[in-house]
Symmetry: C2
Subunit: 355 residues, 2 copies
């Protein structure tokens, strides 16, 4: 790993890619719809009873969103694959009645490619979500959904993450048009662009998180994915230990490690958080040094040391696309005030080639 | 939460329950076999193409083991449920072609009960793994597998965790008797008892982990579950921030947060770790303050600051049952040298009643 240090006086590639997220979604809202319809037709086939998704890293967080979104809006059961079972000389599990979808921005993660290849060899329908439709992953796919957001040069995935969520939402919308409206899909790019601009303008507010040991990020439902992706951005970019949890899983044990060195980040993108989320936040804030709320619900925002408002007038499916921006900006800011290279965090490569 | 402080001069309930794990498995190796055969018959049914497992906390870590074990040894695809989708007034996802298994020591977690109830109402085959066969969970199950390890009074789950692994292994053994031998099943209780006795005798070695900020626990394959359960015990009992990862997921980003305040725990219970696990451990140890290896492979053990040997002569399925003992003992020890009550960590209740 080279020890290049970039000046933070000029915008990093990462910041440029953050700002490109809104325009990129506007482009792919048009260009991606036909792919989404083809993927939806495949998922709606008579021989498909569930969907298996294979992914790693940020793409795996997008897969979590897909699990909740497709279950909630279309009634499809979604399983997340254990890629290890499909490599290492193992006989892969049987995939009868499954469709298989792989998410990989590079299209080159061998273990993710392996899951799609196994599905194809078992004669199952396959879908690839990728930003590299010419890469090996696409060779094993019946339908290729091109993320089409242009090259992502920073090591940390940002625009490919929001594009993956958008692609999954388009597929869900094609399956259940009464649940995810075309109007809300068309409104999202401008809302995302605003959220990025406002987030970047206020980035200094996240400086306090550099001292978190650790940062505990909580979300549930569709925002379970947001919690994991927020923790990943803060950890990989900021070098700050950070972990994502669902609320019940946190309360089942890990809550015991919350103390004054710990900071708590609640992400709940909808306009009305569930009562138990509000109760838990009120209870947990006395145990954490600093609290963050990213929400459309003023009852959460007013209880937080650091409040990031999500617009209250967006549909449920779109909330996580907006709410993750705060995590991305926090990661960027922590990288800017830390040592090293914003675009190439310590020890990371863009494509992880482990099996 | 009461602020009772127990004397650590007498053995805690937790220590007693740790020591009971071997004898408990010996008892349930006999008593549980018929239940396991009935569950296996249900999973082998003509109308079942995959298994959905619902669980929370330590039971969810047992579910991860079940996902890898059943996939590896029987070829069954296993999905882990998102319980949120089955409550909160949602229309649950469709479960055609699924069998559904719920793991809950108390049999009373409402969200886990909700998944089994939804499966039953859709006419799907259902299995409950529980230490409380009289509790509500069992009412929704076609087959009840009684963990039968006696009351678990300490808040932290230990003997119900190893019993859940054992119950899943019995089911896998009933489905694939050539892969999980009766001989290895009969040998495990004594091996587990030895591991617990040796672990407790050397518990002071884990004192150094109290300073970890955070502890990063890595495992893959069957030990992915061990990594998560180790992190959970250290976090809930020791109050030390700790997180479990698969190796590829760690290398995909969170590795950036490893530094001299961080400690690294590698759990790889088999006699021969994969080459990339050994390479990664050798690489990562230069970035972590203290390293722990729990393994049967001397190439890992000799590279660790703190080495916990797993017997080399056990079958692959049994490794995680032995390897988790180090995590349990580390959690117990960190609780003993910390403040508060070993048997009732700060802020935890035995049964989490969130939906």
């Amino acid at each position: 790993m080279e020890a290049v240090k970039f000046s933070n006086k000029i915008a990093s590639t990462l910041e440029t890619e953050l700002r490109d997220q809104g325009p990129a979604l506007a482009r792919r809202e048009e260009s991606g719809w036909r792919d989404a319809e083809r993927a939806a037709a495949l998922l709606g086939g008579d021989d498909v009873d569930y969907l298996l998704i294979a992914a790693r890293g940020s793409s795996d967080n997008a897969a979590r969103y897909g699990q909740y979104l497709l279950g909630l809006e279309t009634g499809l059961t979604v399983a997340l694959a254990a890629p290890w079972l499909y490599g290492h000389g193992h006989q892969p599990p049987a995939l009868a009645r499954a469709a298989v979808l792989a998410i990989s921005q590079s299209g080159r993660s061998p273990d993710v490619v392996g899951v799609l290849a196994a599905a194809r060899s078992q004669g199952r329908p396959t879908i690839a979500l990728t930003n590299a439709p010419e890469a090996p992953l696409a060779e094993h796919a019946d339908v290729v959904v091109d993320l089409a957001v242009g090259p992502e040069r920073s090591v940390a995935a940002t625009k490919t993450y929001t594009a993956s969520l958008h692609a999954l939402a388009q597929i869900a919308s094609a399956l259940a048009p009464d649940r995810i409206s075309a109007e809300s899909r068309r409104a999202l790019p401008a809302q995302l662009e605003t959220a990025v601009a406002e987030g970047l303008a206020g980035r200094e507010r996240f400086d306090v998180l550099a001292r978190a040991r650790p940062l505990t990020v909580v979300g549930r439902g569709l925002d379970y994915a947001t919690a994991h992706e927020t923790a990943l951005k803060v950890r990989e970019l900021g070098g700050v230990p950070a972990e994502g949890f669902s609320l019940p899983d946190l309360l089942h044990g890990p809550v015991a490690a919350l103390d004054r060195d710990a900071m708590l980040w609640m992400t709940s993108s909808g306009p009305d958080a569930e009562a138990e989320v509000i109760d838990a936040f009120a209870e947990l804030r006395s145990r954490a040094g600093v609290t963050v709320a990213v929400s459309g619900d003023p009852r959460l925002l007013e209880r937080a040391d650091l409040a990031v408002a999500v617009p209250r007038d967006i549909e449920e499916w779109a909330g996580p696309v907006i709410a993750v921006v705060a995590g991305q900006v926090a990661g960027l800011r922590l990288a800017e005030i830390g040592e090293g290279d914003v675009d190439r965090p310590f020890g990371l490569a863009k494509v992880t080639l482990t099996n």
